[in-house]
């Protein structure tokens, strides 16, 4: 029995799904819901994603990963039969609500893993980080979208469009990348002149959302196997 709240849970789930018992479980879930066998890979992939979401510390710990995989396989199959339409309790209706309400603390000052590694990230590592960010869209799609845009600017050297807001002269390249990242993630409330909020409110909101983006990137980098010690010392 493997417990969750550790990186190993997702690995256990992946190994189980590749095993004979796991493949049989996938087939059972498809048969029970009268779905074509050609959906086996999609079902397994979605089950892995759900396991990852459940084991990143947001939900209650999972005592038995294999049993949990069986449960999520069934739920994934039902989700397909529902046309993947989610219920109103799950849909994020309130985009107008500031997701940072209730967060404490000031702006993020320290370097992220990616600041340190920006010069040395290999192609494979970068793809792994992007895949981890993709999974993280399950819990925070806006921060994840910003993280992808940040990678495009800070690591790949993408050039934001001229209409993208830019910080005042004297700002760092990193700050400019943050602004671009937030803008491409649709966070229009983070920039001066986009609404009726006070400049201080806008600045705090921008800092909070930048910190959420950096936190997500740091977790993605860790789950992709990058660590600060290796980054600092080679």
């Amino acid at each position: 029995m493997t417990t969750s709240d550790s990186p190993g849970a997702a690995d256990v789930a992946a190994r189980f799904l590749r095993s004979g018992a796991g493949r049989a479980a996938v087939r059972r879930a498809l048969v029970a819901n009268h779905l074509p066998p050609s959906l086996a890979d999609d079902l397994a992939q979605d089950a892995l994603r759900r396991v990852w979401v459940a084991t990143t510390g947001r939900g209650a710990p999972v005592d038995n990963v294999e049993a949990f995989v069986m449960t999520v396989l069934h739920r994934s199959a039902v989700d397909i039969v529902r046309g993947r339409v989610r219920g109103p309790q799950v849909v994020d209706w309130r985009e107008a609500v500031d997701p940072d309400v209730g967060e404490q603390g000031g702006p993020f000052d320290g370097p992220s893993l990616l600041d340190v590694e920006a010069d040395v990230l290999g192609r494979q590592s970068l793809a792994a980080v992007r895949r981890a960010v993709h999974r993280a869209l399950s819990v925070d799609p806006h921060a994840g979208a910003a993280a992808l845009a940040y990678l495009a600017v800070a690591v790949d050297g993408a050039v934001p469009a001229p209409r993208c807001p830019q910080p005042a002269g004297g700002s760092t390249a990193d700050e400019a990348a943050e602004w671009a990242a937030l803008w491409y993630a649709g966070q229009s409330g983070c920039f001066p002149g986009d609404g009726a909020d006070l400049p201080a409110t806008v600045r705090k909101r921008r800092h909070r959302r930048a910190r959420r983006m950096r936190d997500l990137l740091a977790r993605a980098a860790m789950s992709a196997g990058l660590d600060r010690q290796r980054a600092l010392h080679g």
């Binding site: 048969v31 074509p36 994603r49 005592d63 397909i80 046309g83 992007r130 845009a149 469009a161």
Partner: protein, 495 residues
């Protein structure tokens, strides 16, 4: 004794002790898939979208540890209200005693009038004899549960116009509230009513509450009034809704007749959405004229583009591939295009979807390995919905984009996209049936059948063809299968 909320039809139950789930159904969901409904902790309901009286699934979460048959008292009460006390008890026995078997639950048992009958189980094919009641009218899922499930799907499907979302949520709330004496769904009802009311109040502020006809206004007013009762503690929302209900009853709400017709589709295009009357039903013109765009790849050219006169394109080979088959629901029939509009920027535009962008995301993928490179939410841009994506320079010349309401999901395989498409087409056919538009319904059922054939599901393909024939055969309610339209159906219209 009150009739069970899931009716008296023969039901089949199964239990997976490892997954800790028990399932009950009348028959599998048909070609339009199912509409799910959360009935509180541990219980979910699915009705067949094309035959909502038919129970496509009741999922019961068993206790995570210990005796799976030791169901909490609150859960047992709910199961008794749904299945009836005898069948709820039989389900409990199944779970406790025979976790791997599949049995047929009897209809209502009548004392002294039982006879034995062998029935086949479901997946395992095991046979089990059960007492069988005398014949009685086979009622199905209670109408309020049907309406709540269908309305929630209408509200939450990708690309649904805001007014349809708002009205559908209020309908769901009203139906759930109606269940309250027997199932405590007040919290769910209040959530749906609140979200629907807030959307509706936003639309009022934007002047976007436009109904197709006086008939629809008359049907909408009682829905709004019921929502006021559900929101009994929210003074501001309730007062706004009460005022709206009065306006609807007095005919003081704008009507949409006379709206500009949508643009004609490019010959050979797949943009069925170009003739979607739902665009005109919202009081604003549909996609304007423009040069045709091309989305190379899987599909024929998609639709006319929108007015692009104010934008300059300095990039050769500016067109970016939109993977049409990956687009969910109604998005697949929209005028979705992608163009390179910056050194490393791709603009994804959905023509005429200024009111339908909520919850939709554009994504850019590396076609070589499927890595997600960029994602951005759609936002209103004039009459369109637009997202701008910043893409790594090395990939800008070959990136592929899609649009989704589930950005965290991987790109669907061809098989999954085919199933999704088939279910969407079935849902559209079912809505056309409810609206009495037999011609649209038959056409959509035939499209649905083709899609299921492509997905490899001959059973559902045959079922869709049978529905097409049934609709063409003139039986307006198809022997009771087709329910009356939702108010949100009347606003959305057939397509």
């Amino acid at each position: 004794m009150a009739e069970p909320l899931l009716g008296l039809r023969v039901l089949v139950a199964g239990c997976d002790p490892v997954a800790r789930l028990a399932t009950v159904r009348a028959r599998p969901a048909g070609p339009a898939g199912s509409a799910g409904l959360d009935l509180g902790p541990g219980v979910e309901l699915d009705v067949d979208v094309a035959d909502p009286a038919s129970l496509a699934g009741l999922i019961v979460e068993l206790p995570p540890t210990g005796d799976p048959g030791d169901l909490p008292a609150a859960l047992r009460r709910r199961l008794a209200a749904l299945l009836g006390p005898e069948r709820a008890a039989a389900l409990g026995t199944l779970v406790a005693d025979r976790p791997d078997d599949t049995v047929t639950l009897p209809r209502r048992l009548v004392a002294g009038d039982a006879r034995r009958e062998s029935v086949a189980g479901v997946a395992g094919g095991s046979a089990r004899s059960v007492p069988h009641a005398a014949q009685s009218p086979a009622t199905g899922v209670a109408p309020p549960l049907q309406r709540a499930a269908l309305a929630q799907v209408a509200a939450c499907a990708p690309g649904v116009p805001r007014l349809v979302r708002a009205v559908a949520l209020l309908e769901a709330a009203a139906a759930l509230h109606e269940m309250s004496p027997r199932l405590d769904l007040r919290a769910t009802a209040r959530h749906d009513a609140r979200v629907g009311a807030e959307l509706l109040v936003d639309l009022l502020a934007d002047g976007m509450v436009v109904v197709p006809s006086g008939r629809v206004a008359g049907a909408l007013a009682p829905i709004v009034r019921r929502a006021v009762r559900v929101l009994d503690r929210d003074g501001l929302l309730s007062s706004r809704l009460t005022a709206l209900a009065g306006d609807l009853e007095r005919g003081h709400v704008a009507r949409s007749h006379g709206a500009a017709p949508p643009a004609a589709p490019v010959p050979g295009s797949q943009m069925l959405g170009a003739t979607d009357p739902a665009l005109g039903d919202h009081g604003f013109a549909a996609a304007g004229p423009g040069g045709p765009t091309h989305a190379p790849g899987d599909a024929a050219p998609v639709g006319p583009a929108l007015g692009t006169g104010s934008r300059s394109y300095r990039y050769p080979d500016r067109h970016v591939r939109v993977v049409i088959r990956s687009l969910p629901g109604a998005v697949a029939e929209a005028a979705a295009t992608a163009q390179r509009t910056g050194t490393d920027q791709v603009e994804v535009r959905v023509g005429g979807w200024a009111e339908r962008w909520h919850g939709l995301w554009a994504r850019a993928f590396d076609p070589d390995d499927g890595t997600l490179l960029a994602a951005g939410p759609l936002r209103r841009d004039g009459r369109d919905a637009v997202a701008r994506l910043l893409v790594p320079p090395r990939a800008i010349g070959r990136v592929e984009v899609d649009i989704t309401d589930r950005p965290e999901m991987p790109r669907p395989s061809a098989a999954l996209a085919a199933v999704g498409r088939a279910i969407h087409l079935g849902g559209v056919a079912a809505r056309a049936e409810r609206l009495g538009d037999r011609r649209s319904a038959a056409r959509r059922w035939r499209q649905c059948a083709r899609a299921w054939l492509g997905a490899g599901d001959l059973t559902r393909a045959d079922q869709a063809l049978a529905y097409a024939a049934q609709v063409n055969g003139g039986d307006e309610r198809a022997g009771g299968r087709i329910t009356r339209p939702l108010v949100s159906d009347l606003i959305a219209g057939p397509s």
